[in-house]
Structure formats: structure tokens, C-alpha cells
Amino acid sequence: MIRQTMCMVSLAVFDPLGELRGVVAELLTLVIQIVAVLLALAIATGFLEAQVSYVVGAPSLLSALWVKIGAVIICLVIALTAVSISNTLVGILF
């Protein structure tokens, strides 16, 4: 117990921003989950929109749906690789 506490204290001393890193990691996880949910919602609303367009006689909106889904997938990929992108930029700039 004492050893564990000492390890934690030494970690806190050597890595004063460790808590901040943990908070940011949790925040990023939440953001990624939200982006995943938004992907599902975008697919559902996109198909609904395309269906409405078909019903009212303007079927060209279905082609816009594929672009929309592609853009949402790109956003998800960027959200998933946010840490890698950030680390790369930090490595390049500093």
C-alpha cells in the first residue's frame, strides 16, 4: 500500500500533467463516442431525407446522401486518429 502510494506520488512528481492527460483522454473517448452516434444518426436521417425526396419527386437527393455519409465517415476517422494527428503536429512543430 505504502509502496503503491509512493509510486503514485513519484509519478505525480515526475509527470505533473498526468491528470490533465487523463482528463483529455476521457474527453476524447467521449467525443469519439458522440461522433460514432452522429454517424448512425446521419445515415438514418440521410436515408429518410432521400426517401422524402423520392416521395415528393426529386430523387437526385439520394446521390447527395452518399457524399454526406462519406463526409461523416471521414469525420469519424479524423476523430479516431485525433491523438495521432496531434502528436504528429507537436512532433513537427516542437
Binding site: 483529455v24 469519439i32 444518426l41 445515415i43 423520392y54 479516431l80 491523438v83 496531434s86
Partner: protein, 139 residues
């Protein structure tokens, strides 16, 4: 003795500040006595946290969208067949073939809406391997 206490109480009752404090104390006591309940010091009820809440909210929204899509499917089939019938009646039977294409599109969109969760899960599972696992670098 009683007379002295009575005089003191009358003096307190004449003072508006003391009177307000006394009424406030009585109100607080009343609230404390009426809101008595057992303190639950055990573990909180099991819950999935924020991610579960977000997922269930999204599922609820998608269920609503699927219901709307089913309604639109019925409306679309009916209106398009009416359109095709009118076009055939007025002497332009080519409109009926347009009706089939439109209905095919409506059914395609309905199938897409039904399989939304499956499609989203497939995309997410495919892209999950790209998730960054390393720590965050700070300058």
C-alpha cells in the same frame, strides 16, 4: 420571573430582525421535519454511464426515424401509383415505369433506414483499428 420572560419575549417580538430570524428558523425546522427519509449510503444503482446513455438516446432517435420511414414508404407507394395511374389515364403510360423506379428508390431508402444500426456498427468496427492508442505528446 414569568413577568420578566414575558417582557423579554414581547421585546423580541417587537424587533423585526429577531422576528424574521425566528420565522426562518421555524420554517427550516418544518422543512427538516417534513423531509425526513432514510439516507442511502450504499452503492449507486447500476448504470452504464454517459456512453450507454448516448447510445440509448441514439437508438431511440433511430427507432423514431425508422417509424417515419415506414410511414413514408406507405405514402410513397400510394402516391406514386396514383401518379402512374393518372399518367396512364391521360395518355402518357411511360409515367408508370417512372413509378416503378421511384418505388424502388423508396424501398431502397427504407432498407437503408432499417439497417442503419448494422451499417453504422460495421463502419465503426472497421475503423476502430485506426483509433489512436498512444499517449498525448505535449511540447
Amino acid at each position: 420571573m414569568v413577568q420578566a420572560i414575558r417582557i423579554r419575549i414581547e421585546r423580541w417580538a417587537d424587533d423585526p430582525i429577531v422576528r424574521a430570524r425566528f420565522i426562518g428558523l421555524l420554517g427550516a425546522l418544518l422543512l427538516i421535519l417534513t423531509n425526513q427519509s432514510i439516507a442511502l449510503a450504499g452503492d449507486p444503482p447500476p448504470s452504464g454511464g454517459m456512453s450507454e446513455a448516448i447510445a440509448s438516446l441514439a437508438k431511440m432517435l433511430i427507432d423514431g426515424i425508422i417509424a417515419l420511414s415506414a410511414i413514408l414508404l406507405a405514402i410513397g407507394v400510394a402516391t406514386n401509383f396514383i401518379t402512374g395511374m393518372v399518367e396512364t389515364m391521360v395518355g402518357r403510360p411511360g409515367g408508370l415505369s417512372t413509378t416503378w423506379m421511384r418505388i424502388a428508390g423508396i424501398v431502397l431508402c427504407f432498407v437503408g433506414a432499417i439497417f442503419t444500426i448494422t451499417i453504422a456498427n460495421t463502419i465503426i468496427d472497421t475503423l476502430k483499428s485506426y483509433k489512436s492508442t498512444g499517449g498525448i505528446s505535449l511540447p
